[in-house]
Structures are given as C-alpha cells and as structure tokens.
Subunit: 477 residues, 2 copies
C-alpha cells in the first residue's frame, strides 16, 4: 500500500466548532463529519494534536483525548512515530437513495373495506384513560412483561366479551396479541406452532375471505380448503367431504366479505362437527360490535368454549394503529400458545394494554363503539339512499352489520367497473380478490361484485366518495 | 336420544331480572346464565313465552324476541309443535382450573441482570410526551400502519443515534421493531427470512451471551459457532477458522455479560473481515447509553454502515414493557426486511412510537438516561465499596458500563454459591448460564462467576440486596 497521501499540514485542517458546549465532543463530531463526508480521505495524516489544539484555541489534553477516542472507535489510526491518520476503513457512507420519493398515491376517494375512520379516533378520551392507567399502575407494569398480556386487560376483556359478544371465558383463557394475523401466526406458523405442522391436516376456510390470511397460512405451510357459501353462510355440511380437516376458520357474525350471519342451525352444526371429530373452530369476530338492524348475534364460542378459539381486536372498533387483539382459548391450549408466544417476544405494549383496560372499564370503549355505530349506520343509510336513486338496479347485500357492503354486478363486468373506478381515483375492491383459488364454479357460482368500505373516509369526504361510486356503476342492462 | 327431561313447567322457571335496564337483554342474560350454570340442562323444555312473560311481568313480544335470539345464537332449539328447549350442545363451561395459583415467587432480593429499575419509569414525562404527540398527530396516524414504523420516530432515532452512539444512518434505513429478539426473528426465522435458511451458513456469536438468543436461533434452524473471548473482547481472528460464516453477532460496546468493550483493533478487524468475505456484522448495542468512567465508545456501525446491522431498544434505557426497538440496516437489506415484517403484522403500537419520538425530540429521553446513569453509577459504586470491605478477595469486572457487573469466583464454586443465594432468596445468574455449549475449555478456560444486575431493584431495596450478596460470597481460600 502506498504511503498516506498529502494531508492537511499542521494548522490547515479546517474544522468549525460550535461556540458553546463541550470542546472534546465538538471536536470529535467535527472530525467524524469530515471523515464521513469524504473531506478527510482514508490514509490522510492529521495534524499533531498540539497544533490542532493551538489552532482551535482548545486545551491540548482535549485534542489528545479526542484523537485517542476516535482511534478507539476505529475512525483514526495512531502509529508510534508516524502520527495519526484517518483509518483505512472509515469510508464515507453512500448517500441513501431516496426511498418512496414518488408522490404518495393516495386515492381521491377511498372505499377500501376494513378500516375505521381514522379521523374519529377518540384522542382526548384515550389520553385521559392513559393518564389514569399509568398513574395508578404498579411499578412492575414497567418491568418485563407477561406473554399472556396484562391481567388488568384480560379482566376487562373477559367482562366486555361476555357482556357484548356472549363469549364465555375468564381472564386466564385470554391471551393478548397484536391482532388476528398475529394470532394465526402463533397458532400455525413456525416450529412448535400450536395447530400447524404436517400432522395437523388442512384448514377449512370460507370460500370468500381475506387473501392476506390465506397467504399467511400458505407461507406457514398450511393447506386451506374452501367451504362453499350460500344464503345461510358457510356450508358446514361440506366438512364431511374432508375427513382430514381438524380446524375451520369462520366469520360467523358477519361473513367476510359477503356479509351474512351464519345460520343458527349451522352454528349448532359446526359445534357438533368439532365435537364429533375432535376438531376446533376458529371464530374471527372481526366486526362483531357493528350491527345496525337487529340485536347482535352472540359469538359461536359461547356454545362450546372448549371447541372454539375466539379471535378479536380493536383494529375495526378503535384503530389498527394500536396493534392490539386477543385470543380466547380452550383451557387445554393456553399453555401451548403461551410457550410459542413467550419464545417470540413481539408482544403488545404493556402501556397500551393498561390504557385499553382502563378505557373499557371506564365505559369509554362502549361510548366510542356506540358513537361509531351511529356514524357508520348513517353512512350505510346514505349509501343505500344514493344507490336507490342513482342505481336502483344494483343489488346490495351484507348491510345489516359491519363496515362494508357488497354490491352485486352482472357476470363478467367486475373488472371493467374496477378499471373505471381506478381511472376516477376511487379505491375499492372487487369480490374476485376474496375468492379462494380452489373453489370451482360448480361448488359455488362466481359472483361479480364490489366490496364497498364505507367507514374509511373522513366524514367530510364521504359523500363525494359515494357520488364517485355511483358514477362508475354500470347502467341497467 | 330420549325425549326432553321434565323441565320447569309453565311458570316455575325461576329467573331474577334486575329491576332496571332493558327487559329483553336482561331475560337473555338470565337464560344464558341458567344454561351456563347447568341449572337448565340440555333438552330441558322452557315454558311458553306467553306464560314466562306473564310471570315476569314483561311484554309478550319481549319474551318472544329473547327466545328467538337465543335460538339464533344456538342456546335454544325451537321446534314447531314441541315448544322451545335448551339446545343439546349448550353445555356449561367447565370451571377453568385456577392458573398460577401458587403465591408468586418473587425473590426477596432481585439482582438478575438486564432489567432497568421499574420504579424509575418517568410516568409524568412520558404521559406529557404522549399528550403532545397524540394531540398533534395527523389523522392517518390512527389508520393502518407502516411496517417500517412511524417516520416521526425514525427521524428522531436517526438524530439521536448519530449524536449519542455515532451511528451513521438516515430515517429510511431504520426499521422499528419490538426489540432485539424480534429483530433476530425477522432476520433469521421462517420462510423468506433475510439472513436465515440453509444457504446462509452458521452464525458466529460470542462465547458468552444470552441463552435466549441462542435458543431463538436454534429454533430457527440457525447453527451458532462461538468466538472465544479474551481481555480485548471477541477473538475476531477466530473467524478465519470458519470460512462458511457470513454473519457475526457481537456486543462491541460492552461484551454481554463479561463486560469489556471490543478493542479498537478488533473493531477494525471485524469490519475488514466483513468486507473481505462479503459478510455482515450484527451489532447488539444493548446498553450503549450506560457508560460511567469514560466517554462512550461509538457504534461499530459508524465504521461501515453497509456491513453492519445495528440493533437497539428502549428495554434497558426506559422499559421493556414498551416492546420498542429498532434496526439500522444496510441500504440493500431494507426492502427485504420490510417484506418479511409486512407479512407478519406483529408491529409496535403507532401511538407508543409517536410518544417515543416526542420524548426523544423534547429532550426527555436524554434527561431520563442521564438520571438513570447517575443512579446506576451510584449503585455500582455502592456495590464496589461494599465488596471492598466485605469481600476484598473477589475480583469484579465489566464495571465501566452497563447495568451489571461480573464477580469472579474460584473454579468449581459457582454452583454452590448460587445454591446459597437461592436459599437466601437472592436471585442472580451464574456465568455458566451464558457460556456457549460448543466452546471447549481449550479454546477458552471455564470461568466461574456471578452476573450481578444492580439496576433491577427499587432504590429502597438495593442496599439489602447487596448485603445479601455479600453474605453468600465465599470466604477467601
């Protein structure tokens, strides 16, 4: 290797130190910055610390210390007799290419399903609950957590879920998690997964459902088999054709996304199936709080808590930003789920858990849900009224509950309607996105349609979004 | 199946409804409770709704609705002509066996390493930061999150880490996660893991380290090879013996748990190794903020940001209950880590992220770290002073930084000292727990010792814990 290039001699190393603050730290920062920027190249010889100190008007010890520390950090190399040089490996960082510099492609109108109105988050009430919760929390709340979740939250959830959803549980059977996707990963993904693995057999799912869940399960090596849907919900009788299935994932309160509740006879039948075949039902109660036209249908879990894993979260009712959800487990699964969860360590914040517990117990959660229920019902009513005027030929379903409706389209027209919507800056999904790839047209006819999420926009943007939707709907045949 | 057992006839079904509140909901709750408790067995015939309504003094419609809804929920079975019976499958839930009913086994004195003093969490400052952050946050903060983490936090972290730890980064290279264990899972575990898989080769680790991390990696199918330690830290030269190693996990600022910083020449050497072999260094900066006797050693990451993945969290500096950490990534890895993280959905709370960003930017985080640094230094000094008086023969190391010290013991005595400690209700770890199982006594002599975490107890409990420690230390030979 060649000798060091000619560097700045004695006093010509230009460094600007701020007028105030610690001299040593300032000198170290200035030298680091000069090396980082490439102004001082690797191998460059630095002035002796004495001359640098004189030049900068700082104490000699200060300059000597700064050199020594930068050498200890690997920025500089000090060799007896040859002075101090910039270390070979202290290369300047390449400027990070700007990421995502394209203007954010927010749609003009957002009717994507599954998101609550973010502008309606109850900031003041949440902050007040947080203040009460954190002020009164025991010190151990700020120590290492429990993979099961804070007991304060599990107690609040056990009461709330029994009261509002007919779930039969106690705090010891509840495991706090980040949401339904996290629950599915704990149950199915990875070594030691509770329900996964080659021996566990395929998982029955509904013929229409969330592609994200199917993809997550596929990556975990879980085969999913679709159950056809009809006007009473998932065809539980089809489980008889798949004797290796030991688990069925259902959305009984409000089939996602087609919208109907599972019929009472089917609720009973799926419990009978689970009991008869030693199987389990996974109940995804994703929007159980939002029912408009009749009293809520309670959770299937209430029929047999030892045969149902109940999954819920605040993602629809409050905010997906909190990443807070829960599993209500059969007694025999609690320890196994905790073992997997304890190994993984990506738990929910204990502080948010305490705040949610206080929010529920103080009645703030119920008040928020009631307020949002009224708001979403008004939006649904507005959607129906507009459609009745501007597109009376369009059949609407799934409207008794939830945060979205399904608009049926004539066969073969879904794709062109979605294209027209995209052209108008209107974001929404087609039914095809939700259909399981293995469900044949003979098992269940292909239905064209739109999934319209009416919760997503802020209040002021909603009417324009519905108007844009009406604009792209096809005229009657 | 036999016919329904004799049930309560017409009016002798005893139900107590509360005096106020909705009649239908109250009746449904009372019936559910009676079924749940087993008082109404499966198959029991209920009185006709008319007589029940008369008996309870409620409207007929109300009773009819309650029956219909309980039938829809599967609790009751309504058959034309045979009245309403309790459904076959509505079995009472078995009382959950009490879990963890044993009195919680808190040790009398807790000197387990790795935990900050939970009583010192800055509740008021954190709440104030939360109020400022949530009040001023844009609405989209309460919508679906970004797997990379809130930009506000990444901006604050980029500034803080550059200033306090010499990390060279920008917000686009930072990925927020739940902590170091979560980061290791994202990098190594599961299909599509960034650095894992059979092709990635073994991972070099330090001969002493966290067993939890080794176990996590083993479950992910990652083989770990131990690097011997000496007074200058990990023996980087030993990497030459393992040409298949492409990643090395190190704790350069303060070797965990033995306590020394990685020597400047070794810092340079590991970067040279990474460049020469196309490898990566994982830098676990688990307690970089806590250095007492000299200025902090900056992060190795600053030497070459494209060759180092820097990992940190608030678990030691603030609280493990927040489950908040970060990865600073080489440019080329950012998209791959985000793809894995986006698939998994167990993200940190956006609200806590906003609060931490505000806490850092307002100077609250620095103030808290300085306060805790003073507190822990005082505790360390007290420990050293007590040991100097009561056990001057015991060698103490790793004391220039961190939240723990290592006390050397005579060979073969560690286990008996730990037994004596347990007998006294004193919780602490022995060095043996941290030793890699594959490191032979010829590569590195077995050292007996205690890992003493002096941050864990509350202030008022600390002196008694140190006294208990001194009581169990062996007398001089």
């Amino acid at each position: 290797m060649a000798g060091p290039p000619d560097g700045p001699a004695g006093s010509d190393l230009h460094l600007e130190l701020p007028a105030t603050g610690g001299r040593r730290a300032a000198l170290m920062a200035a030298l680091r910055e000069a090396i980082r920027s490439g102004r001082l190249a690797p191998g460059t010889r630095l002035p002796p610390y004495r001359s640098l100190a004189a030049d900068l008007g700082i104490a000699r010890n200060t300059a000597a210390d700064a050199y020594a520390e930068l050498a200890a950090e690997g920025w500089l190399t000090a060799r007896q007799g040859s002075g101090t040089t910039v270390a070979d490996r202290a290369e300047p960082v390449a400027a990070t290419r700007a990421r995502r510099t394209s203007p954010s492609r927010r749609p003009a109108h957002d009717l994507i399903q599954g998101r609550p109105d973010a502008s309606a988050f109850p900031r003041a009430d949440w902050l007040a609950a947080g203040r009460r919760a954190l002020t009164s929390a025991p010190n151990e709340a700020f120590g290492p957590g429990d993979p099961q979740g804070r007991r304060e939250l599990r107690v609040a959830l056990a009461d709330y879920l029994a009261r509002a959803r007919g779930v039969r549980t106690d705090p010891e059977r509840i495991v706090v998690c980040s949401g339904v996707a996290h629950a599915l990963r704990l149950l199915f993904d990875g070594a030691g997964a509770v329900l996964g693995g080659p021996a566990a057999g395929p998982l029955a799912v509904e013929a229409y459902g969330l592609g994200f869940h199917r993809a997550l399960l596929a990556r975990a090596g879980v085969t999913t088999l679709p159950l056809p849907l009809d006007e009473d919900g998932a065809r539980i009788d089809a489980l008889a054709e798949h004797p290796t299935v030991r688990t069925a994932l259902l959305t009984p309160a409000h089939q996602f996304p087609t919208g109907g509740p599972l019929h009472a006879a089917r609720r009973a039948a799926v419990i009978d199936w689970a009991r008869g075949s030693g199987a389990l039902v996974l109940e995804d109660d994703y929007d159980g709080e939002f029912r408009y036209d009749r009293r809520p249908v309670g959770a299937v879990q209430g029929l047999d808590p030892e045969r149902v894993i109940y999954l819920g979260s605040v993602s629809k009712s409050l905010s997906p930003a909190l990443r807070l959800g829960w599993m209500v487990l059969p007694e025999q699964l609690v320890d196994r789920v905790l073992a997997v969860k304890g190994e993984r360590e990506a738990w929910a914040s204990a502080l948010d858990q305490l705040t949610l517990a206080e929010f529920i117990e103080s009645g703030g959660y119920d008040r928020h849900v009631r307020r949002m229920r009224r708001r979403y019902r008004d939006r649904r009513d507005h959607l129906l009224a507009e459609l009745a005027v501007r597109a009376p030929h369009i059949e609407v379903s799934g409207i008794a509950a939830g945060l979205h409706a399904v608009l049926r389209l004539a066969p073969g027209t879904e794709r062109s309607v979605l294209k027209a919507a995209a052209y108008r800056g209107l974001a929404l999904d087609g039914l095809a996105d939700y259909r399981h790839p293995l469900i044949g047209p003979d098992a269940m006819p292909v239905a064209d349609g739109l999934v319209v999420g009416y919760a997503t926009p802020a209040d002021h943007a909603y009417q324009a979004a519905v108007a844009a939707l009406c604009d792209v709907l096809p005229a009657p045949l």
